[in-house]
């Protein structure tokens, strides 16, 4: 589904990713772990299309399409969705507007008609229930005045409504207490499906107790230095990243 090959990325003249390769297949949940500054967030930002990241070498393909040639919105319409570590507050834009506009854009890209209002509301209400969010959230401006936990839940709500093919979740566990983490994890787990993949970018193993990954990658200094299964995350928890860095060096 996603093929990242020998990716080199420079930010303001500094090389952050130094030949990263990664393959994610449909139905899989991958966790990308690593110390601060390793380039974890850079990977998801480049895939989503954020400005300021220069790809100097390598490729990213998603279902055979060259991602780097696609507009930001085209990537999302194709099913590549990024959940932000720090969701942006958008004063004045109601959540309901965002959800409706986003869903319509995706459907239009697939040549489908707009979802009629009653069906749309039914869908949204069901997903709200799943995320234990009140309907009043929909009338509030996107993330404005939301607590950290509310923002993260809102990111997952968007995923549940938009049903991406590849959900990338950047540090979705940061700033969450244990109850909120469970709700967020339940939401993510409900996304698991045969035809969908999930990429979790995380610093801590804690999240992986709730969302058990099929594969764990360790990113150090712009390259994946080790790949394993869920057990690898536990090793990291016990021994830290230093041991890995040493063995990789």
């Amino acid at each position: 589904m996603l093929e990242v090959n020998d990716l080199h990325v420079t930010v303001e003249g500094t090389e952050i990713l130094k030949g990263l390769s990664l393959t994610i297949n449909a139905g899989e949940v991958h966790a990308l772990m690593g110390p601060n500054g390793a380039g974890k967030s850079t990977l998801s930002a480049v895939i989503a299309g954020k400005d300021g990241y220069e790809v100097t070498q390598g490729s990213i393909t998603f279902k055979g399409q060259d991602v780097l040639e696609m507009e930001i919105e085209e990537r999302a319409q194709a099913g590549l969705l990024l959940g932000f570590q720090y969701p942006v507050e958008i004063p004045g834009v109601k959540n309901i507007y965002l959800l409706k506009a986003a869903l319509n854009a995706q459907r239009a890209a697939r040549g489908e008609d707009e979802l009629p209002a009653p069906e749309f509301m039914k869908l949204v209400k069901e997903k709200l229930g799943l995320m234990k969010m009140d309907a009043s959230f929909l009338q509030r401006a996107v993330n404005e005045g939301f607590s950290g936990g509310e923002k993260k839940r809102n990111e997952i709500l968007q995923m549940l409504v938009l049903q991406p093919k590849l959900a990338m979740l950047d540090e979705i566990d940061s700033g969450l207490d244990i109850d909120a983490m469970k709700v967020v994890a339940d939401g993510v787990n409900s996304l698991r499906a045969e035809d969908r993949a999930i990429l979790l970018v995380t610093h801590y193993q804690r999240l992986l107790d709730y969302i058990v990954p099929d594969k764990v990658h360790v990113l150090v200094d712009g390259r994946i230095v080790k790949t394993g299964d869920a057990e690898l995350a536990k090793e990291l928890e016990a021994n830290g990243y230093e041991g890995i860095e040493e063995s990789a060096a």
Partner: protein, 446 residues
């Protein structure tokens, strides 16, 4: 021939038809004409008109409309969909066919000026011109010289007017005409009412409207005043609104400007009694080569008076906006609060805003603040929306709508808020069906 002469000739031709009018009116007209002749149209050398060039009005040739013909169907398409007491003017001429004062209570008078003058002209003569003298501006002088139609609203003390009072001004396409409506509102003590001025018209109209409104609020009166200006894009629109507030009154102005080629609003509140409060909310949206100028002034003439102003401007293409807001605190008017904010959003590199907030304070125990910002859309937010699959144009449209939302959220009349929201959303691509969305949101609440 000078610019003023064209207007004076039109006036002279008209005056011969007005011989039967009361002498005080003839005298006011003459005073207006004399003042206008003496000062002529303002130029950009006048400080008050520094950013606004009125040559397109001064050099125009505007006739006076003779009839108020307008089809019911056309009017229905333009009118605000709300239950209101309604007076309609077509190119300044009163249309009784398009007006509706059914079930107006005895405690409220809503009259076309022409009728008020016939019924009891002395009652009009006293207040008319008390707030807006011919010295205020060339346009006020011109309005006075030409005044023959408009609206008189009188609300008896203690009356709560349940339905809004809607004054609807429609502009027709065809030979350019001018109109000089005069609005007089006397809100009795502890009365409460909503007044709407609505300007709209046929797309190809190129008329000149020059309105003067004088609003007098007696002790404890509450007046919500909407001015929805969505005149055709070829229209010229000049308005002077003066508000006199006595003790414990509350006046709220919602000044919403979407239309017109050249627009100038002067809004002035005199807070003359303790406890008087004035709220100025404004939104202007200019596209193409529209020029929209808002001049506001709050005069804190008494202690313990309050003002709160929030104007937001959105300018696209080569539109030019002006915001000049002044807060004046008279000597020893203590314990007053005056807040002012102006935010502008420029959607194109060639759009332009001149923003000038002014504070003039002659008392020491006051709380006053003002601020003005001008900027572009938040690119982080544009990016965040695009990562959800929303195309860039829609993302920018949504954020523009959100910017306007802060003012629209405070508009209590749904028909007005929705009209403006849809007008702003008009920039959004077709497939983002806002109307459907609003309905869905309402359904959710039920």
């Amino acid at each position: 021939m000078s610019d003023t002469q064209t207007f004076l000739d039109t006036l002279n031709a008209r005056s011969q038809q007005c011989e039967a009018e009361p002498t005080w009116i003839a005298a006011r007209r003459q005073a207006g004409a004399a003042r206008f002749e003496a000062i002529g149209f303002p130029t950009r050398r006048d400080e008050e008109w520094k950013y606004t060039d009125v040559r397109s009005i001064a050099q125009g040739n505007f006739a006076l409309a003779e009839s108020a013909e307008f089809s019911q169907a056309q009017a229905a398409a333009l009118t605000l969909p709300l239950d209101a007491y309604r007076l309609t003017f077509v190119d300044g001429v009163f249309s009784s066919a398009l007006s509706d004062l059914d079930a107006l209570p005895d405690s409220v008078q809503v009259l076309p000026l022409s009728k008020a003058l016939i019924d009891n002209h002395e009652a009009v003569g006293g207040p008319l011109g008390r707030l807006t003298s011919v010295d205020f501006s060339a346009f006020a002088a011109l309005n006075t010289a030409f005044m023959e139609e408009g609206a008189v609203v009188r609300i008896a003390p203690g009356t709560v007017v349940e339905k809004p009072i809607l004054l609807q001004f429609l502009s027709r396409a065809g030979t350019p005409v001018m109109s000089h409506p005069r609005i007089l509102v006397e809100a009795g003590g502890r009365s409460e009412a909503t007044l709407i001025e609505h300007y709209a018209g046929e797309t190809d109209a190129t008329n000149f409207t020059n309105v003067v409104a004088e609003l007098m609020l007696d002790r404890g009166a509450i007046l919500n005043h909407y001015k929805l200006q969505e005149a055709p894009l070829g229209d010229m629109h000049v308005a002077s609104i003066h508000v006199e507030q006595s003790r414990d009154t509350r006046y709220s102005s919602y000044n919403l400007n979407l239309g017109g080629a050249l627009v100038r609003n002067d809004l002035i509140s005199d807070l003359n009694g303790q406890g008087a409060e004035t709220n100025f909310l404004g939104l202007f949206f200019g596209q193409g080569r529209q020029h929209v100028d808002n001049h506001t002034k709050v005069n804190h003439n008494a202690p313990l008076t309050f003002s709160n102003e929030n104007y937001k401007g959105i300018l696209d293409d080569r539109a030019h906006g002006v915001f000049n807001g002044k807060v004046y605190v008279k000597r020893d008017s203590q314990k007053i609060e005056g807040f002012q904010s102006n935010q502008n959003l420029l959607l194109s590199d060639r759009a332009h805003i001149d923003a000038k907030p002014e504070l003039e304070i002659y008392a020491d125990d006051v709380k006053c603040s003002h601020g003005t910002t001008t900027g572009q859309l938040d690119e982080e937010a544009v990016y965040a929306l695009r990562t959800r699959g929303i195309d860039e144009a829609t993302a920018r449209g949504l954020l523009t709508l959100a910017f306007a939302g802060e003012v629209l959220d405070q508009v209590a009349l749904d028909a007005v808020a929705e009209r403006v929201e849809l007008a702003v959303a008009g920039k959004l691509p077709e497939r983002f069906n806002l109307a459907g969305l609003v309905e869905a949101a309402v359904a959710l609440n039920d």
